[in-house]
């Protein structure tokens, strides 16, 4: 078990290192940082002085070290576009994205898992076929289209829900939350549904196929041969074995949701990190891009690690070493 944890930690560190390397390469070598920072009239001597001041003439390894050191202190330089520290830009938008992501994830799991289980247990009922068909449509609808459609129906035609923004937010220490105000809650419904729909469809299909696989297993057959009631077989043995791999996928999904938030935030003008990143891509704002990359990599690696640990904690085959006898 300990070896397992260590192995995963090392793997996470490796990923972070590679990402840091890529982010650094972007930061330092793509485009000319000096050009972004000064005007056209600045003389060559000025530029050379600036280069030396910023340490851009030092050895690459040194620069990389400095980059990593700065990153660990959350210093990513200034945004080309906004002329503000990247850290401030990201920090003020971080809560919006995380709230949206968490609400979507919760929604997709809370609805997706029961539907998947139902579709697996009652294969021949028409409702199951309908769920399956809908899940197929769900993964075929691009997220932005779902957003546009929902806005058209619920904002433009029915006027029930807002089509942009976060509504009223409340500051709690560093965090800003929209979940405690009425307008905030109304504002998060459409974006969360848009973001969560695709993931929900994926979960329905995954849970269904996983459960069908489990129901074919020998231990299920043996449980039935022992005369156990259907409820014990389905919701005891089958469900537990089905949900185990689903934990892994659900965790990875959270990472996917954070990435897909870029689309949702654009459609709904949701003031989160994703929208910031998109604007950075559009205007080649390298510092923001590389900082976002590092942050997101860190989040993903952490999620992967937590999921792996959770899996190891729940699966007795990993938690307890096999003894003979």
């Amino acid at each position: 078990m300990l070896a397992f944890i260590l192995h995963r930690l090392l793997q996470g560190l490796l990923v972070m290192l590679v990402v840091a390397l890529i982010a650094f390469t972007l930061f330092r070598f793509v485009g000319d940082p000096i050009n972004q920072m000064v005007g056209l009239e600045t003389s060559l001597e000025e530029r050379a002085r600036l280069r030396q001041q910023l340490g851009l003439d030092d050895a690459v390894v040194v620069q990389f070290g400095r980059f990593v050191w700065n990153a660990l202190h959350f210093d990513f330089g200034n945004s080309f576009q906004f002329k503000k520290p990247v850290l401030d830009l990201i920090a003020e938008r971080f809560p919006a994205t995380i709230e949206l992501a968490l609400v979507s994830a919760l929604l997709s799991l809370a609805l997706g898992i029961p539907m998947g289980v139902y579709a697996a247990l009652h294969r021949r009922v028409w409702l199951s076929q309908a769920i399956l068909a809908l899940s197929l449509v769900g993964i075929s609808l691009p997220t932005f289209l779902v957003g546009i459609l929902l806005i058209f129906i619920f904002s433009v035609s029915l006027g029930l829900l807002p089509s942009f923004g976060r509504g009223e937010v409340v500051q709690v220490g560093y965090w800003t939350t929209g979940l405690v105000t009425r307008s905030g809650l109304k504002a998060i419904i459409l974006p969360a549904t848009t973001l969560g729909l695709f993931q929900m469809a994926l979960i329905v299909r995954l849970v269904r196929s996983e459960m069908l696989e489990v129901l074919r297993a020998d231990y299920i057959r043996f449980a039935r041969a022992r005369g156990l009631a259907s409820r014990a077989v389905h919701f005891g043995h089958a469900l537990k074995n089905t949900l185990l791999p689903v934990i892994t996928v659900a965790g990875l999904q959270l990472g996917s949701i954070i990435a897909f938030a870029i689309i949702t935030e654009t459609v709904f003008q949701w003031p989160g990190m994703g929208l910031l990143f998109l604007k950075a891509v559009q205007s080649a704002d390298i510092p923001v891009m590389s900082a976002y990359l590092l942050l997101v990599a860190f989040i993903f690696v952490s999620i992967n690690l937590i999921v792996d640990l959770l899996y190891a904690a729940v699966d007795p085959r990993i938690r307890i070493d096999a003894r003979s006898g």
Partner: protein, 328 residues
């Protein structure tokens, strides 16, 4: 047998495919009495496991039981509603499938799996059920059962897992135990222990045992009576002593010839040429005729009925035991 625990009569199991119905079990009949071991023997694909599945009502679609009767203690069980059949499983019929490792849910402690089986069929409290589970494990020879009962399946070795599975099958004290290949995955010493346990079970608790195997040696050691199956049919059926000493059906003779006997003066093991036919290609008449050294015209066209030959019943058109000289 009039007071048989299990009575199977003319059982027929079909699999419906788009090419038509494939018959996996074709008119199988046998009885198992109280405290006796009936061995069902044959090569892979003979339909032995399918017969067992049919008895406990766990044939998966596209398979179905097409004809026949199955009686437990005289009462028919093949036409029961699913819920009634479920109550019989475990409580009156215990089943052990082929692979003990995959039969156990890897995420549940074996204690939990034992207790849930016991409480599903008896009125015992959880504590009492757990106590019974411990004593079951002890009966089966698992050391330190009070500690091991909280272990997970992967923490047991192969032989121990087989015992756990047996304990689970016997948890609710059934009258009939069906064991499918109980010794295939085990080494010889463990095999001997399991066989001894089964025999004790019969003698002391009068449990009827249906033992399915491809190993004639196990049959010789354990069974009281034996039914030899080929291509979904019973070709020979009688007391073990008689069938082993004077096998009549050419297939049985072939199986006997393939048992290594260190004392006998044989230079080569007899191998039956050919292979068990696939479900879609069962030969007409007697299914064994393509591989039989004594086949004649009638064997190709008419399927033989079971006829008395000495103490056994044999499905073969031959009138007399063929002499050894005519065999390869």
């Amino acid at each position: 047998m009039t007071d048989a625990v299990l009575s199977v009569h003319d059982l027929r199991v079909e699999f419906l495919t788009r090419r038509g119905a494939l018959v996996a079990v074709d008119g199988v009949s046998f009885d198992v009495g109280q405290g006796e071991v009936l061995g069902v023997v044959g090569e892979s694909g003979a339909g032995k496991s399918t017969t067992a599945s049919a008895i406990i009502g766990l044939i998966e679609p596209p398979g179905r039981m097409a004809a026949g009767e199955i009686r437990l203690n005289g009462a028919r069980i093949d036409n029961l509603a699913p819920e009634a059949l479920r109550r019989i499983r475990g409580r009156h019929i215990g089943t052990v499938f082929q692979d003990p490792l995959t039969s156990l849910d890897p995420l549940y402690r074996i204690g939990a799996q034992l207790v849930e089986t016991i409480t599903a069929h008896t009125a015992l409290s959880t504590a009492a059920a757990r106590a019974r589970a411990v004593s079951l494990l002890a009966d089966l020879g698992i050391p330190a059962p009070e500690a091991r009962i909280d272990d997970y399946p992967h923490q047991f070795s192969g032989g121990m897992r087989q015992r756990v599975v047996l304990a689970l099958a016997l948890a609710a004290s059934p009258e009939l135990l069906i064991v499918d290949e109980p010794t295939s995955a085990l080494d010889v010493s463990v095999q001997a222990q399991i066989i001894a346990f089964l025999k004790r079970l019969c003698r002391q608790q009068r449990v009827a045992v249906l033992l399915i195997t491809h190993d004639m040696g196990v049959i010789a050691e354990t069974a009281d009576r034996v039914a030899v199956m080929y291509a979904g049919r019973v070709v020979e059926h009688g007391p073990v002593r008689a069938v082993l000493k004077t096998p009549f059906h050419p297939y049985t003779r072939g199986l006997m010839g393939s048992i290594p006997r260190p004392d006998a003066d044989v230079h080569r093991l007899v191998q039956i040429p050919g292979a068990m036919p696939r479900l879609a290609d069962v030969p007409s008449g007697c299914a064994f005729h393509p591989r039989c050294p004594h086949a004649f015209a009638r064997c190709l066209s008419e399927r033989p009925n079971a006829a008395s030959r000495g103490e056994s019943e044999v499905a073969c058109w031959l009138e007399d035991v063929p002499s050894a000289a005519t065999e390869a």
